[in-house]
Amino acid sequence: MLKVAAALIPGIATYTYFFGVGVLVQIGLATVAALATEAFCLRLRNYPIKPFVTDGSAIVTAWLMALSFPPLAPWWMITLAAIMSIALAKHMYGGLGQNTFNPAMVGFAIMIVSFPAQMSHWAAPLGLAPQSLDAAAQLQWIFTGHLPAGLNFDAVASATPLDTVKTQLMQHTNMLTILHEKLFGGIGGIGTEWITAAYLLGGLYLLQQKLIPWIVPVTFLAVLGGMAGIFWLVDPQHYTSPLFHWFSGAAMLGAFFIVTDPVTSPTTPLGRMIFAGLIGLLTYLIRVFGGYPDGVAFAVLILNLAAPFIDQYTQPSVFGHKNRKKAGAKA
């Protein structure tokens, strides 16, 4: 678990570089709230606190959730989300290893459903906004909800590339025009593309450490990219390229850190492939046709629900029983 946290560090560093200390504040708040909730729940359930709090699972949950939050979300939102994810999604279901849903995604989903306005207040990445917020101003905004005099939130805020594409397309704007906006850098949007690349780096580390099965991120990205590719080739005016889908939003974070969560995913090799593939498919559908800008969280939660079902029907054949099946088929 601590290795997973370590693999997140390049992503966190890049995120902070582009979006400011708000990111670190979110991570800090989430960590503290998650650990406190974890300890409290363990206490309530008469479990030993130390081995569970130190195993790092709550920290990873907190970090993943904080990374999916806008850096300038108010302090109480990330705190509430962390509490909800640990208490509601994890301990209500029986604690570590028993949860049906990915706790980080539950926390995120609850918040985006409840407070969609605040959850879409993204600050513009480095160098894009007409006015930029310094660290003090970010802290002030997160903790008090007020900006220093003379600053207007509309001026510092900006939609994410995914959101922009979606809303602009709705205004019947041509894709090429949209991509000409300065928000879009090389492939996935300024900042975003570097952050996702950093997640990719962390993910490769996890793969190298054999902490995650390679089939999951590969299938997820392949299906997401495949869907994007089909639509893009048919109509590049209204659909974005696979590269854009890979390097924007939570695609990379999801591929390596969220879809791979063992507790909430199937365990059979084929099951994992189906699971990751369907998440990729749903992510694309929600991103392009759904009501929310990014689809990873909802896709993951929906497939979490199907994990036991997928497991049930993808049981690999057991040692010795393969011959028998063949023999039976012949007979």
């Binding site: 206490r43 008469n46 479990y47 030993p48 606190i49």
Partner: protein, 190 residues
């Protein structure tokens, strides 16, 4: 308006006639005669045929349960486990064993003290599963593999030569225990 009412009434009446006829016919045509419930209950009962439930054997008790004439907590050899299974099957609430019917005992066997046995055959006649062998005026023996430990042979014996001995655990009948989870719960400070 009136036409609408008449039409509605007509359609409803026609439907009623049709469905009623089909249902009435089907009720007879697809009637299930046996009561598989009795067999299901009987399968849960331990088949000791001991009669502690107040019925002459397991099947009569199963029939009584199925007919809602007897409670599910009257079988001591079945134990709590058996009551739980019956409760699950019948969708009833679990009840502790009725103390009037006896108490749960470890699995036991009848053993004839062959030095005392006079060969009266009374126990042979009492045994519900024919697990005691022996002819008149010859010493009787209990076939241990078939004895259910029902104790019905104890009372008729005129010389009290039958003992009910609990079957101890041996290496062959030993079971692996449920692994103890070394998760020690924290003591809640009072």
């Amino acid at each position: 308006m009136l036409l609408a009412f008449v039409l509605a009434l007509g359609i409803m009446a026609a439907l009623a006639l049709l469905l009623g006829a089909v249902l009435g016919w089907a009720a007879i045509r697809y009637k299930v005669d046996e009561d598989p419930l009795v067999d299901k209950i009987d399968a849960i009962l331990p088949q000791t045929q001991c009669g502690q439930c107040g019925f002459p054997g397991c099947k009569p008790y199963a029939t009584a349960i199925a007919g809602d004439e007897a409670d599910i907590n009257r079988c001591p050899p079945g134990g709590e486990d058996g009551i739980r299974k019956l409760a699950d099957l019948l969708g009833k609430e679990f009840k502790p064993l009725n103390a009037e019917n006896g108490e749960e005992k470890p699995k036991s066997l009848a053993v004839v003290d062959e030095a005392v046995c006079i060969g009266c055959t009374l126990c042979v006649q009492a045994c519900p599963v024919d697990a005691i062998v022996g002819a008149a005026k010859h010493v009787h023996t209990v076939v241990s593999s078939e004895c259910t430990g029902c104790e019905l042979c104890v009372a008729p014996c005129p010389v009290d030569c039958i003992d009910i001995v609990p079957v101890g655990e041996t290496v062959t009948s030993w079971k692996w225990r449920y692994p103890v989870i070394p998760l020690t719960p924290v003591k809640v400070a009072a």
